[in-house]
Amino acid sequence: MFSLRSSIILLLVLFVPFLLRLLGSEPYPAVLLPSNAETILKNNFLTIKNIRLFGIRNDRSWEEINKMVFFEPIPLEHAGIILMSHLFLNANRIPQDSKKDVLYRKLGLLRNRTLSASDIYELHTWIKSRLSANGFATAKIRIAVYRENVLIQTGAVIKKEILYEQVYTLD
């Protein structure tokens, strides 16, 4: 069967990515399954952070945008970081490089993530096309972050507060 040398190489191939994930940088490809070992306390309600998008309809009223339709064709589960970064429209909201990121960049393992003027133009064009495809005016988009306390059994929102809200002009 497998020699000792092959087994040691196999162990390295398996454990190095595993340790990297434990340190917070999951590489790909790697033989790993999702862990998510977070726990929740027994409580009647759950606090969730909900990022919502709003567009302007023809009658100039703001209306919530269906995120799944807006991000089409990106599957919603992959749009999480785009949402958390507020569609990359606000430089302050884009996750800043950690010390690890700076190190990885020096080692050439991570690309520079700053956006050029043409990137921003391309991004605005894409957002406008998605707004237009969903029947919204293309001039503005509003992003609001809510903190909601939801009753676990019924799903009723018992407390809702706005953490952040901003209107972005796209033209």
């Binding site: 398996l14 940088s25 999702p34 998510n36 990137d119």
Partner: protein
């Protein structure tokens, strides 16, 4: 020192011999499994990437140690079109047995290239075991029989090695999922639960509210804590079960299928791409004669050829219209419909597993 190395060497040999003893391999079964895998790829799960071709570069955020870091942004449409069409061709070659060995390797390499770009949005999915399966099986004789253009026959020791390695990869993958859970979930604090976190966060934050999810969230908190213990034991036990006996390994695999059915029903997490991986340990040799006879019949070809053409046309339509759809029936945005497909697939896989493992085993023993 040399004594120590000899001792380690002995343990290493015993470990692999034990595993290979507990995983009986049969070439006829592997060849039938190749056809099942090919059909699975064509109908149930074929990765597709053309939908990424029109996205802005701002969304391109590859993780560290990703091949995508070699690129400055998402490649153009023709790159992804070529990737998707070649993946379709490779899965056709696997199904029909046209140089299945090389087709499997091409499928794995192309998929990993595409997935590196897909995970550049910042989230990594964990479908890796499917590609590990195809890669391991590309070293076996699975393309030597029931094939249009068969591969050269290799020594059967490679079949044994490949399957043993794949079994260890499954064990490690589940260990990687269970290790952190064991540290945080195994305690006597009945006021905290990891299962409840999956259940409630999924339901309210990610809108996973289909199938039996509304019923699942009303489980008593204590029961969810007990599920924490079960999940950790399940995820950390495969290597032990693999080393005990062939039967214990199959019991663990069957538990894995049931675990996935539960996850699909209650958490709406389907992991459909894993559905095929457990079947490789089944013995399908009882079907060999019937399938060989069927393949040689003209009537079967009259049905199979148009059916394959239809599948290819549907897949190409999805590719050229940039529709993200891993299965043949529904686009990715029809979440509930896809969950129904996943549930049916998992139930079918579980039934096939029971039939091709335990029932055949019992029949052999009674014979």
């Amino acid at each position: 020192m040399s004594r120590f190395i000899r001792w380690i060497n002995t343990i290493n040999n015993r470990f692999w011999v034990r595993i290979s003893t507990n995983i009986p391999v049969n070439v006829a079964s592997l060849c039938i499994f190749r056809i099942i895998t090919g059909l699975f790829l064509l109908i149930i799960f074929l990765p597709d990437f053309t939908w990424m071709s029109k996205l802005p570069r701002a969304f391109f955020r590859p993780p560290v140690l990703s091949l995508a870091n070699l690129s400055t942004g998402f490649p153009n449409k023709y790159f992804f079109l070529a990737l998707d069409v070649l993946l379709l061709v490779a899965s056709l070659c696997i199904t029909t047995g046209i140089k299945a060995k090389i087709a499997s390797r091409i499928f794995v390499i192309l998929s990993l290239v595409g997935l590196n770009f897909q995970y550049s949005f910042g989230k990594i999915d964990h479908s890796i075991l499917l590609y590990c399966l195809l890669f391991c099986l590309s070293f076996t004789n699975w393309g030597t029989q029931l094939s249009l253009v068969p591969d050269k026959i290799r020594h059967s020791k490679y079949d044994q090695k490949a399957l043993s390695l794949f079994a260890v990869l499954i064990c490690f993958a589940f260990f990687s999922a269970g290790f952190e859970k064991a540290l945080k979930w195994i305690n006597s604090d009945f006021n905290s639960s990891g299962t409840a976190n999956w259940m409630y966060t999924g339901y309210y934050a990610f809108d996973r509210q289909f199938l039996l999810a509304p019923w699942g969230k009303s489980f008593p908190f204590g029961a969810q804590k007990l599920m924490d213990y079960c999940a950790v034991v399940f995820e950390l036990s495969p290597l032990v079960m693999l080393l005990i006996s062939p039967r214990s390994w199959k019991i663990w695999l069957l538990t894995a299928c049931i675990f996935h059915i539960m996850n699909t029903l209650f958490l709406n997490i389907s992991f459909t791409f894993n559905a095929i991986i457990y079947l490789v340990f089944c013995d399908f040799s009882f079907l060999y004669k019937a399938i060989a006879t069927l393949l040689s019949r003209a009537v079967f070809r009259l049905i199979a050829v148009p059916a394959t053409v239809l599948i290819v046309v549907l897949r190409l339509t999805n590719i050229f219209t940039c529709t993200a759809a891993s299965n043949l029936f529904f686009s990715g945005r029809l979440i509930e419909a896809n969950l129904y497909v996943a549930t049916l697939v998992w139930i079918l896989i579980t039934l096939i597993f029971i039939k091709a493992s335990f029932k055949i085993e019992r029949e052999k023993m009674s014979a």
